[in-house]
């Protein structure tokens, strides 16, 4: 963005009286950065423990906003409904016919409903929910005109980005736990409970089955957190939150389509959605740790790559709204 753009945008919002707005209204984006720099410096002098407390406070208020927002709560509730729906359908209509082995196994053991539900939701619906929260992170503030105020607080852009990302990660965890927990409760209520049969045909105790469920929740959360980084990177590129959300969803759909093309089989291992359903490695005997490790490495790579993109863009861009 050129200085001319800045001054134009700055003048249009010059009515708002904040230090940052005044700075950009003055026509010098460098001055704005200076103000932020001073703010960050003063935050640094406040000491390490103070910094951590401020960070926690910021994260706390961010989480409060996220989990009080009706839109997010509706998404959580809708996704929590899916396991209940699957459970009721399997219970009512039985699992005969062409139902896959894992769906059939649900009728025999309630714990399987957790795996089935995650398997159904992980390719598209859960990522969409995460994309909404991640895509809204920066662009939402910019759109509402609140990003400037956030940056005048002595927090610094890097820290703000970190808080926004952690917020999306916590939402991913909450989403996965919600789905898994409703599936577990529904499964326990509707189906017999006991030893769990793994995909390899080995039977493990209920306790180990629950432990493996925990592992799956961790893995799926990591996968969703990687997607949150992608959504966050897109969010720093635009001031229209719906653009970042839609962009992320389009990316998910496009990669899912690419995966379905047999000629592009060689590409599949590098695509994020391929790794999401990789949690079935936990349900094998012995646990396919190398597959699991590769999935986690892929999530790590995506998080680092898109996280650094978001950081580079956000810390070097001129904030005008």
């Amino acid at each position: 963005m050129s200085t001319a753009d800045i001054s134009a945008a700055g003048t249009s919002t010059a009515g708002v009286s904040t230090p940052a707005a005044e700075a950009s209204a003055a026509g010098a984006s460098a001055a704005g950065t200076e103000v932020l720099g001073q703010a960050a410096a003063s935050a640094r002098t406040a000491g390490r423990s103070g910094g951590v407390a401020a960070f926690a406070r910021l994260l706390g208020s961010e989480l409060g906003l996220t989990f009080r927002r009706p839109r997010n709560l509706v998404m959580l509730a809708l996704l929590a409904l899916v396991p209940v729906l699957i459970g009721v359908v399997v219970r009512t209509f039985g699992s005969d016919g062409d139902a896959g082995g894992i769906v059939a196994a649900t009728a025999g053991n309630g714990l399987m409903l957790t795996f089935v539900s995650l398997y159904v939701l992980v390719p598209l619906l859960m990522p969409v929910a995460v994309a909404v929260v991640g895509g809204d992170a920066i662009a939402g503030e910019a759109n509402a005109g609140t990003l400037r105020y956030l940056l005048t607080a002595p927090a610094g852009r890097t820290r703000l980005l970190a808080v926004k990302y952690l917020n999306a990660v916590v939402f991913s965890l909450a989403l996965t736990v919600t789905v898994a927990a409703t599936a577990l409760i529904t499964g326990l209520a509707l189906f017999p409970v006991g030893d769990v049969t793994l995909l390899s045909g080995t039977t493990v105790t209920m306790a180990e089955g629950l432990l493996r469920t925990l592992l799956i929740v961790g893995y799926v959360t990591a996968g969703m957190a990687a997607l949150a980084a992608v959504a966050m990177a897109l969010s720093t590129l635009t001031e229209i939150p719906i653009g970042a959300v839609a962009g992320t969803v389009v990316l998910i759909v496009v990669t899912q389509v690419l995966r379905a093309i047999p000629q592009l089989d060689w590409l599949a291992p590098y695509l994020l959605p391929t790794r999401w359903t990789g949690f079935d490695a936990v349900l094998r005997d012995p646990v396919a740790t190398s597959d699991l490790g590769q999935g986690l490495l892929a999530f790590c790579a995506y998080t680092v790559l898109f996280g650094s993109l978001a950081w580079a863009r956000f810390t070097s861009k001129d904030i005008t709204s």
Binding site: A30, T33, G100, G101, I102, A104, A105, G108, F115, Y119, G194, D195, T197, L199, S200, G201, T202, T203, P262, Q263, D265, Y270, T277, D280, A281, L283, R284, D285, P286, A288, S290, D291, A301, V304, L305, S308, L309, W311, A312, T315, S316
Partner: protein
């Protein structure tokens, strides 16, 4: 400001570089990290050592690992799902293998949210398919499961190696390299380069473990492509006795259990008598790498159901050709060429289309 911005954007660029390097060069780093130091071996010596190792013990040492098959034959896309046999002709497939001894084996084929298992333990074997929730118990006849390896008992390993090599030498140039790694293990690679210029095969590479002489990988390279057209080999391997649980199987509760005798799984043996006269007489033309198989082929009655679909879709993409012998359709892949003539002959060989058309003229 300007330089600050540049430095900031340097971070994601560095991230791309690091991730790209890790993805692309993972195997290279492993290979460069420690150059395998295997003593030099001539081809005949290597084969002799391998034969000796095969005879010394009862089969290969205990191991477990992952076997991957990759085929990029350049075939047209075949109908049928990923579970159909036709799907094996393209793409990558993975299997996990646990090998205890010649009668203790487990092979697992992982699928998305499913798994197929074959567990062999002594005279009992189980087939487990999680997608249909069925376990099949197979009775193995006593003595079955012995490795079906050639038993050149009247030859010393040295002689066996030389004899094999003489056979290979007639049609190929044989060389040995000792600087490669497969699944992290130093290997000898036996490279066979066909002498026949008409074949589509550039070379075949067989990697043999430098310590145990277990074959770890086979690669077939087609002419004109740098990547192997077909590859089957270990991507992970550990020469340690696998955990005993791998070889025991108890059918889980609520699972369909079927029992089968190994005899009933081999219908071809019983019905062989009746079919004997109908067996197509296969002729061959040429020898070595240029061998062409000629068999009668009736398109109408050859295949039904899914096979029919596959055939039709393959023929739809075939090139019509003609010669003094008549006309037909030719299908070319990277490694194999097939010619179906209108007078009902099928010619298949790892040769160029020209050679196949030429062979169609010789009755």
């Amino acid at each position: 400001m300007r330089t600050g911005k540049l430095v900031r954007w340097g971070v994601p660029v560095a991230a791309v570089a690091v991730i790209g390097a890790a993805v692309a060069a993972g195997p290279v780093i492993a290979a460069v990290g420690a150059d395998p130091v295997l003593p030099e071996r001539t081809a005949s010596r290597l084969l002799a050592d391998a034969a000796a190792a095969a005879r010394r013990s009862d089969g290969p040492p205990p191991m477990s690992g992952t076997v991957t098959k990759t085929a990029s034959l350049g075939l047209p896309q075949l109908p049928g799902g990923p579970e159909s046999p036709a799907a094996l002709l393209s793409g990558a497939h993975e299997a996990k293998v646990w090998y205890g001894s010649h009668d203790r084996l487990r092979v697992a084929l992982p699928g998305e949210m499913s798994e197929k298992n074959l567990i062999v333990n002594g005279e009992q074997a189980w087939l487990w398919d999680s997608s249909s929730n069925t376990a099949t118990k197979i009775k193995m006849p006593a003595g079955e499961g012995q490795p079906v390896t050639p038993q050149p008992t009247d030859l010393t390993p040295q002689q066996a190696g030389e004899r094999l090599l003489a056979e290979a030498d007639r049609h190929s140039t044989v060389s040995v390299t000792n600087t490669d790694r497969v699944a992290g293990r130093p290997v000898y690679q036996l490279v066979l380069t066909p002498k026949d210029p008409a074949t589509l095969v550039r070379e075949v590479r067989l990697a043999v473990d430098g310590e145990t002489y277990v074959p770890l990988r086979v690669q077939v390279y087609a002419k004109g492509s740098a990547e192997p057209a077909f590859e089957l080999g270990f991507t992970e391997i550990a020469f340690e006795p696998p955990a005993e649980e791998n070889f025991t199987f108890t059918p889980p509760q609520g699972v369909k259990v079927e029992e089968k005798d190994l005899g009933s799984l081999r219908p071809d043996e019983r019905s062989h008598e009746g079919h004997k006269q109908e067996d197509p007489p296969v002729k061959t033309v040429g020898d070595g790498w240029g061998t062409i198989a000629v068999l009668p082929f009736d398109r109408a009655s050859a295949a039904e159901g899914e096979g029919r679909q596959v055939l039709d879709s393959v023929l739809a993409g075939a090139t019509p050709v003609s010669g003094s012998w008549g006309s037909g359709r030719i299908v070319k892949s990277k490694l194999l060429t097939a010619l179906l003539t209108d007078d009902g002959r099928l010619l298949v060989g790892a040769v160029t289309p020209d050679r196949l058309i030429e062979a169609a003229g010789t009755r």
